[in-house]
Symmetry: C2
Subunit: 373 residues, 2 copies
C-alpha cells in the first residue's frame, strides 16, 4: 500500500466538491485543505504549536530553498524536516521545479535536468529527476512532488507541448529513483499550460504511471481567473477519483472555493503569510490594509466575525502600531490571523460540502467578502 492514501467521504450534491481524508505516515487530514507554506523549514513567523492552535494539519516546505540552506544532509541528520523543525504532522515538499524555472536567465534546461545558479550566491547547481528525489528523500516529507517543468504564461503551444512531454519523461525517472515508497508518496504533476489537448495528454500519460496522488501545476501563474477555472473544469475530472488532487500555488479565498467546487482536495500558497507581513489582513468583509492611518484609533478586532487568538486579544490600533514600528509581534499577529482565516475558510467549505450547499456558501461568502461575480 502507498504511504499516502485518499478516502472519499462525501460528494457535495450542489457542486460535486469532494469531502475526504488523506492518510499519511504522520497522521490524517481532512480535505479540502489549505497548507501553510514553510519555505525554509519554518512557516514564517509561526511556531509549530501556533500552527496546531490554528489547526494546520499539513504544511508545505520548499525543496529548492532547503537544498540551498541548510542543505539536505543537515536536514537528514536531524531526522528529516519533521525532526529538524519540530513538526510531527504531515509535510509536503515541492520539487523545486517551479523555483528553478523561475530563475530566468540563470538556468539551462536539457533532457538530463536543469543547471541553475543559486539566487543567494550565484553558485552553480544541477537538478535532475534523480537528484531531486534524493533531496526529497532526505528531507523526508510524507508527500513529495515529481520534478516537473512549469511552463510560463503565456507560452506557445509547441513549447508547452515539449515541456509537458519532458515532464512526463521526468516523472517516470522520478518514480524509478524514488524507493522510499513506504514512508513517502510521490505525486505526479499534470502540466500542459492552458491547452486542453495537452492537459488531457499529460493526465493520461501520468495516470499510466499510477502515482498515489496527482497535482495540477502551471496554474495561477498570471493567467486570468476565468482561464484557470476553465482549465480546472476539464482537468480535474481527468484525475483519479480515488487519489488526492492538489492544485499547486493557489490560495486566494475565491480560488480555494472555486477549486474545491471543481473537485480539488489540496491547496498551498504564500499569500496569507506574505501579505500579512506587508500589513494586509484577510477578513470576512475583504482585505484590510492595517497600516492605513484610519485604523490608528480603531479599537475593534481585525475581523468582526473572527474568533482567533489575534482577534480575541488585540485591536486594529495596536496591530497597526506594531506594523508601523516594524515590531516582530505585528508580523506574527497578521500572519497568524491570515492563516487562521484560510484554514477556517476550508473548515467552512468542508461543512458546506457535508451539507450539500457549497455553491450557496460561495455566493454568501462572495457577497460579504466583496467579490462581485
Amino acid at each position: 500500500m502507498a504511504a499516502v492514501t485518499y478516502e472519499l467521504i462525501k460528494t457535495c450534491k450542489q457542486t460535486g466538491a469532494r469531502l475526504g481524508k488523506v492518510h499519511t505516515p504522520h497522521g490524517s487530514f481532512d480535505t479540502p485543505v489549505f497548507m501553510p507554506v514553510g519555505t525554509l523549514a519554518t512557516v514564517k513567523g509561526m511556531s509549530p504549536e501556533e500552527l496546531k492552535e490554528i489547526d494546520a494539519r499539513i504544511i508545505l516546505s520548499n525543496t529548492y530553498h532547503c537544498y540551498l540552506r541548510p542543505g539536505q544532509d543537515i536536514v537528514k541528520q536531524a531526522g528529516g524536516l519533521h525532526g529538524f523543525m519540530n513538526w510531527d504532522r504531515p509535510i509536503l515538499t515541492d520539487s523545486g521545479g517551479f523555483q528553478v524555472f523561475s530563475l530566468s536567465g540563470l538556468r539551462k534546461i536539457t533532457e538530463e535536468g536543469v543547471t541553475f545558479r543559486s539566487h543567494l550566491d550565484g553558485s552553480k547547481h544541477v537538478f535532475t529527476p534523480e537528484s531531486v528525489m534524493d533531496i526529497e528523500n532526505d528531507l523526508g516529507a510524507d508527500i513529495i512532488m515529481a520534478f516537473d517543468e512549469c511552463a510560463p504564461y503565456p507560452a506557445e503551444y509547441d513549447y508547452v507541448k515539449k515541456s509537458m512531454e519532458r515532464t512526463t519523461r521526468w516523472a517516470k525517472r522520478c518514480k524509478e529513483a524514488h524507493t522510499n515508497t513506504e514512508k513517502q508518496s510521490l505525486f505526479g504533476i499534470i502540466q500542459g499550460g492552458m491547452y486542453k489537448e495537452l492537459r488531457i495528454e499529460s493526465a493520461n500519460q501520468l495516470k499510466e504511471l499510477d502515482f498515489p496522488g496527482y497535482a495540477i501545476g502551471g496554474l495561477s501563474v498570471g493567467e486570468p481567473a476565468e482561464i484557470m477555472y476553465e482549465v480546472l473544469d476539464y482537468t480535474a475530472p481527468l484525475m483519479p477519483a480515488d487519489k488526492p488532487r492538489y492544485l499547486m500555488g493557489v490560495g486566494t479565498p475565491d480560488y480555494l472555493i472555486e477549486g474545491a467546487i471543481r473537485g480539488i482536495d489540496m491547496f498551498d500558497c504564500v499569500l496569507p503569510t506574505r501579505i500579512g507581513r506587508n500589513g494586509t489582513v484577510l477578513t470576512s468583509n475583504g482585505r484590510v490594509i492595517i497600516r492605513d492611518a484610519k485604523y490608528s484609533r480603531d479599537f475593534s478586532k481585525l475581523d468582526p466575525e473572527c474568533d482567533c487568538y489575534v482577534c480575541r486579544n488585540y485591536s486594529r490600533a495596536y496591530i497597526r502600531h506594531l506594523i508601523k514600528c516594524g515590531e516582530l509581534l505585528g508580523l506574527r499577529l497578521t500572519t497568524w490571523h491570515n492563516l487562521y482565516f484560510l484554514i477556517n475558510l476550508m473548515k467552512q467549505v468542508r461543512q458546506a460540502i457535508m451539507d450539500d450547499k457549497l455553491a450557496s456558501f460561495r455566493d454568501e461568502f462572495y457577497l460579504k467578502y466583496g467579490y462581485t461575480k
Copy 2:
C-alpha cells in the same frame, strides 16, 4: 497607602541581599527581579502569553518611544499600556530622561525642561517634569519614573553636581504633578555620577520627598564594572530599606548578581532581547554566538542545563539555520531563551538568598559562565 509597596521577606546572611515582594495594582512580584524591556508596548518578538510562560512578572516600557509612537492619547484611549498591549501584570515606565539626554546634538536643556528633536522625523518636542507625568499617567503603568537628567560618563564634578541638583528640583515638580497616586507610584531617581558626595546628597534630598520607591540612575553608562560596584556599595545603603530599590538599565548576568548582593531589588535591560536578535544566546557556560558555522551540525540544545521551551524543542543547528536565513522564528527563539535565562537566574538568586548562600552561588555561577573574578 501608596499604590506600590515593598515587603521585605528575608536578608541573605552571607551577603545582605534582600528577598522581597513588591505589591502593585496589577499584582505582586518577587524580588530581586529582572524586567524584560518592551520599548514600544511590546517586548520585541514575544507575546504576552510567552512572557507569562517564562514567568515574567513585570515588564518595562519606554515613555519616550510610546510618546512618539503611537502617542499617549491612543494608549490612553486603549485603557493604558495594559489594555493596549494585552498585558495584565505590572508595568513600569521610565521617564524618557535617559533617551532625550542620549539625543546629543538634538537637544537643549533649560530649568523648565528639555527641547529635543524626534529621532524618527526630526520634529521638535518638549519634555518637562509636568509633561512627562502627564504622559506617564496616560500610559498608566503601575510604577512611573521621575523625569531626571542622566549625566554622561565621564563628566566633571561641577556638571554632575548641577545636573543632580536639577534632578532633585525636577523630582519635586514630578511629585506635585503626579496626582494619580492611588493607581500609580512615582519612583525617584538618585543621580550624582561616580561622585560619592553627590550620590549621598542626591539620596538625602530625594528621601525628603518620600517616594514609594527609589532608583539608581546614571550607572552602566560606560564606566568600568569596578566603579559601578563601588557606587553601588555606598549608594544602595542610603536607600530606604522599606521601599523597592531599582538599578536602571542593568542586565548582564554578573551585574544582576552583584547588584542583588548589594541590596538591589529590580533590574531592566535590553541586553537579552537585543543580543538575541543578533544571534547571541546566554548559556550557563557563557555566551554562544549561534550564527557561527561550527554550530551548523550541532543538534544539541542551546544550553545543556536549560529546560526552557526553546531548549526542550529545538537544536542549535535549527536555530542557527533560522538566524542565518533571517527567519522570524529564529529571533523569537533566541529572544525567548535569553529572557528565560535571566528570569531563571533571578529565581536562582532568590533561592540562594533564601538559603543564605548568594556569595557561594555567585562563585559557582562565575566559574561555569566564564567570569574570572
